[in-house]
């Protein structure tokens, strides 16, 4: 048995086991995504797709002020929500990873568990807290204070709702990264005279920046495509880009335009992920060219 053949048979076995699922993802996820790229250059006429190659869908989006407003609004919203999740999740994940001890698993599971209730029911729950007859405003009016108008049916309410939905992903991503982080490095930095803040900036954060970037992507992407949260928490003027996209698949039936909006949305998401991962400095990230467990 030569070394080369041995490796070959291992590769084959690994592929035999992992290829079925990989093909499933390629056929039923990547292929549909590729088809909407094609459809985005077609046009729709009375609910039928017509293969009449053109750029009109994109021109429509980029020249219609309403669409651009929604796009800009969504971008601002997702950036703000990602930033809030990032800043809040770091100390929380750090605490669980460093001091959680034998309760680490349960403390982390507790942050992730609400995710399983489903987006719609969680947004309903948030509506019952922030809405005009939500518990916050009813409490304020019961003790004789004015209701907080900015909290009900507004972009603020949408932002709170989105943080509520997606912050578990950020906590989880940072926590998983910190699990493989050697906290003794901090002691080493401090013994050599670094302040706790400096040790954090120059040791902890760079070494966990890849995990943090994954968290940023996992929050930004679904937030940028949000439809349910703005619909139920955003109020009459609360619609975001996702809502206008979803609208193309409703009564208007303009699928080709919707496809173009989807492609644009995905492109911007990928661009965001690309820019975020550009900030990773591999020399300082602890990357050794190997995957954990190797």
């Amino acid at each position: 048995m030569t070394g080369k053949q041995f490796l070959h048979s291992k590769d084959l076995k690994a592929l035999a086991l992992s290829l079925p699922g990989a093909l499933f993802i390629i056929v039923f996820l990547f292929l549909p995504l590729a088809t909407i790229v094609i459809y985005s250059f077609w046009r729709t006429e009375s609910y039928t797709m017509i293969a009449d190659w053109n750029l009109n869908n994109y021109l429509t989006i980029l020249t219609t002020k309403t669409y651009l407003t929604f796009l800009f609004r969504s971008l601002t919203m997702s950036l703000a929500v990602s930033f809030i999740c990032l800043v809040y999740s770091w100390p929380v994940a750090y605490y669980i990873a460093k001091y959680g001890g034998r309760y680490r698993l349960i403390l982390t599971m507790l942050t992730a568990a609400p995710f399983f209730t489903g987006i719609l029911l969680r947004v309903t729950a948030m509506q019952q807290i922030l809405g005009p007859i939500g518990v916050v405003n009813m409490f304020l009016s019961n003790i004789g204070l004015k209701p907080l108008h900015f909290l009900m049916y507004s972009h603020y309410a949408t932002a709170v709702g989105l943080v509520y939905l997606w912050i578990p992903f950020m906590v989880l991503a940072i926590y998983l990264s910190l699990l493989t982080f050697d906290f003794k490095l901090l002691d080493a930095a401090m013994i050599n005279g670094a302040s706790p803040l400096r040790a954090f900036w120059e040791v902890t954060l760079p070494l966990n920046w890849i995990g943090t970037c994954i968290g940023l992507a996992l929050v930004f992407i679904p937030t940028f495509a949000a439809t349910i949260t703005p619909k139920f928490l955003g109020g009459v003027n609360g619609a975001l880009y996702g809502n206008i996209l979803a609208h193309q698949f409703g009564s208007t039936g303009t699928w080709a335009l919707g496809a173009a909006m989807g492609v644009l949305m995905f492109t911007i998401s990928l661009l965001f992920v690309f820019i975020v991962f550009k900030t990773v400095n591999l020399n300082r990230s602890g990357y050794t060219g190997k995957i954990a467990g190797e």
């Binding site: 086991l17 993802i25 996820l29 599971m109 309903t124 019952q128 807290i129 007859i133 706790p196 989807g262």
Partner: protein, 272 residues
């Protein structure tokens, strides 16, 4: 040094406060609608007028039984392939170290980076125009499976990185066939990870709104019924629905956790 220690403990206290506030933020809305689901006066439920009327209304909602059945089928038939695909893949990639491991892992988790809305609309268009099948339960099941393979894969991967594959080698040395190794060595040790991933995929597919909505047309599921009724204002029967779902999720997670913590399941046994 004393001041650094003082600073460190202040920081630690701050972190605890943030953690507790996060739990309150995450759980208060869910606990509040649980409470609301049992009271008549939902708008300002203090003092409560206890009632079960929202649960009765939930059962009486039009399409409720059809929706429950469809959601159950979507959950079950998504969870089965998602778990099988991802279990096989994780075993393949961890047991037989291949140079394609990194790329495969990336491929398996890539669905996490595609938002539900985009999966929904792209599979809708793909199924309608390429496959010639739209508005079928199977379309929703396939679309949900692509997303849930990723979650399932992560759950299994997170547990199996601790598995010691030398146990399999040992069994082989003593003459076990590959099938025997799987059924008698690997599976008895890793089944909680498989069960966990099955539950995660089931729950996610059962509750999914965006992917299922675009693929189902007029077929009702619990989330699409909830979505439809929400458009006509707040429906307290949805609080009842949320409560039932939360109880089921909580029971599932708690029992899995109990099994692991009490050592009834010897998990990720390293053989040391």
């Amino acid at each position: 040094m004393a001041s650094i220690n003082h600073q460190a403990s202040a920081l630690k206290t701050g972190q605890v406060i943030l953690l507790v506030l996060l739990y309150i933020f995450l759980y208060f809305p869910l606990l509040f609608i649980t409470y609301d689901s049992f009271v008549h006066n939902i708008i300002w439920p203090f003092p409560p007028k206890w009632t079960l009327e929202w649960y009765q209304k939930l059962l009486g909602m039009s399409d409720f039984h059809a929706g429950l059945k469809n959601s159950f089928y979507i959950g079950l038939f998504t969870a089965i392939p998602a778990t099988l695909f991802s279990t096989a893949a994780v075993i393949g990639l961890l047991k037989y170290r291949t140079r394609w491991r990194g790329g495969m892992i990336l491929l398996y988790i890539s669905p996490l980076f595609v938002p539900g809305l985009l999966i929904g609309i792209s599979t809708l268009m793909f199924n309608a125009n390429v496959m010639g099948m739209s508005g079928k339960l199977i379309s929703a099941i396939i679309a949900n499976t692509t997303e849930d393979i990723a979650f399932s894969f992560l759950v299994i991967l997170a547990q199996l990185v601790r598995y010691d594959w030398r146990m399999d080698d040992a069994a082989m040395v003593f003459g076990a066939t590959p099938a025997q190794v799987f059924w008698e060595v690997t599976l008895p040790t890793i089944w909680p990870a498989i069960l966990g991933s099955f539950l995660v995929s089931f729950i996610l597919a059962f509750n999914n709104l965006e992917i299922s909505y675009y693929n189902l047309g007029a077929i009702p599921t619990l989330p699409t019924i909830a979505w439809g009724s929400l458009r006509h204002g707040i429906k307290p029967e949805l609080f009842a629905l949320a409560t039932v779902i939360n109880m089921l999720v909580f029971t599932a997670i708690a029992s899995l956790f109990f099994l692991i913590q009490t050592g009834m399941v010897r998990f990720g046994y390293r053989g040391e």
